[in-house]
Amino acid sequence: MYDKAVRRRRAVLAVLVALSLTLLTAYFGESSSGSLHGVQRGAMEVLAPIQEGANRVVKPFRDLFGWFGSTLDAKSQRDKLKKERDALRLQVTQLQVDGSENKTLRGLLNINTGGGMKAYQPVIARVFARSPSTWYSTVEINKGSSDGVRPDQPVVNGQGLVGKVKSVSNGNAIVMLLTDQEFGVSAKAARSGEPGSINPAVGAPGDLLLELVPRGKLVTKGEHIVTAGTVSTRLPSLFPPGILIGTVSRVDQGEGELDRQIHVSPAADLRQLEYLEVLTKPNTDLVASTGKSP
């Protein structure tokens, strides 16, 4: 009984395999107009309407699955686009930073060439720290004594005077800004030529005062104020002449000449300092005119 079942099983398998191989061989050997191909085409013609009908029946289900697939695909596309967007956002930020740096450096280049600062051997430095206190308007730069930076050297940027070097270490320096309460510089009105002294306005951060002006009434709103430079060889100024400090923003008329207050708005945007120039040879003019080092 068992042998019979085994024989039957093996016989069925052998027949099926033989039939498959026969079909395979015959089909493979005949031309496309052969009988097996014809049978296949006939069967296909019979099956085609069934398949078409079934295709219509299952279309909603297929669409449903397709919708899931499309949703998954859309999700992956969304994630991909999000990544691209983030990358582009970073690029834009970087480009904005680069653009800002470019603008600053162009300003420095202009002031060096057009403004004649090149003679003072400027050292370009990057601001990397800023005093959080409004009372101590200082910034820290990445150039120090090893780069030729010394205390009291003038510091400018593309817009005008920024301050002076307060203290120096080997690789860094602290710059005192124009608005620092300890700052002061001899100045003059560019158009009227009236001399004076620039000092920060106490209690008004960001505001400067042009003081000790002999004929203050000649100074008007909108006039540029520049550094006066060295007037007397006995008392040389730390700052070369002609550096723009700011513009007269308003003039408060007082009782008399002494009460008059000339407010000056700094030319340099002191809240957004990135690159600065330290003028390491500020007295070049003086050396050239007197023939000796100050």
Partner: protein, 188 residues
């Protein structure tokens, strides 16, 4: 299991519906770029449920239908699916596996045999295509998809053929214990 007339009719209907569903719907739904293939799963399930001879016959028939409907070289799918059905049936006859995940493993192995066997046959017949990484990837993905579908397909097939099936191994063993068929007490 020796298929009777109604069982054969059910098997034929199962094969027809399964193949049409495969051709009209399943083959058009791609996941990770490849569709699942129900034909080896159906053959495996029939083999696992009914034995080697019905499995082989069902495999041959399904293969012939697929080859005919898709205008493929007649005999390739038949040959490979015959082997798949016979193998699944022999597993049942020799081991009578009772674990619930057996259909999953058999489905995965059956799909692998079918996919690789079909490719080998195509290469043997002189199809001029390289064994590319893409082909390997597709075969692997089909195996993965079919592995996921194996259990539900097996359950559906079992339900469809249930009037003609003997008890499944797990239920048979459970009943044997509860009625004392395999209990040591019954020997006393």
């Amino acid at each position: 299991v020796t298929p009777t007339g109604p069982a054969i009719a059910r098997l034929a209907l199962l094969g027809l519906l399964g193949c049409i569903l495969q051709l009209t719907a399943v083959a058009q739904i791609t996941i990770f770029g490849v569709p699942a293939d129900l034909s080896p799963l159906l053959v495996c399930s029939v083999g696992l449920l009914m034995g080697s001879v019905p499995g082989a016959l069902f495999g041959f028939s399904v293969g012939l239908f697929v080859d005919t409907a898709l205008l493929q070289t007649l005999g390739i799918s038949s040959l490979v699916l015959t082997a798949v059905g016979y193998g699944a049936g022999r597993l049942r006859e020799l081991r009578d596996p009772a674990h619930a995940l057996v259909p999953v493993a058999v489905g995965a192995i059956g799909t692998a045999v079918y996919a690789i066997g079909f490719s080998v046959m195509q290469f043997l017949l002189g199809v001029d295509a390289p064994v590319s990484l893409l082909l390997v990837r597709e075969i692997l993905l089909v195996i993965v998809l079919n592995t996921l579908l194996a259990l539900p397909v097996h359950m559906l097939v079992r339900r469809w053929l249930s009037p003609f099936l003997p008890d499944d191994p797990r239920r048979r063993r459970r009943r044997a214990y509860t009625t004392g068929g395999l209990s040591p007490l019954s020997k006393a």
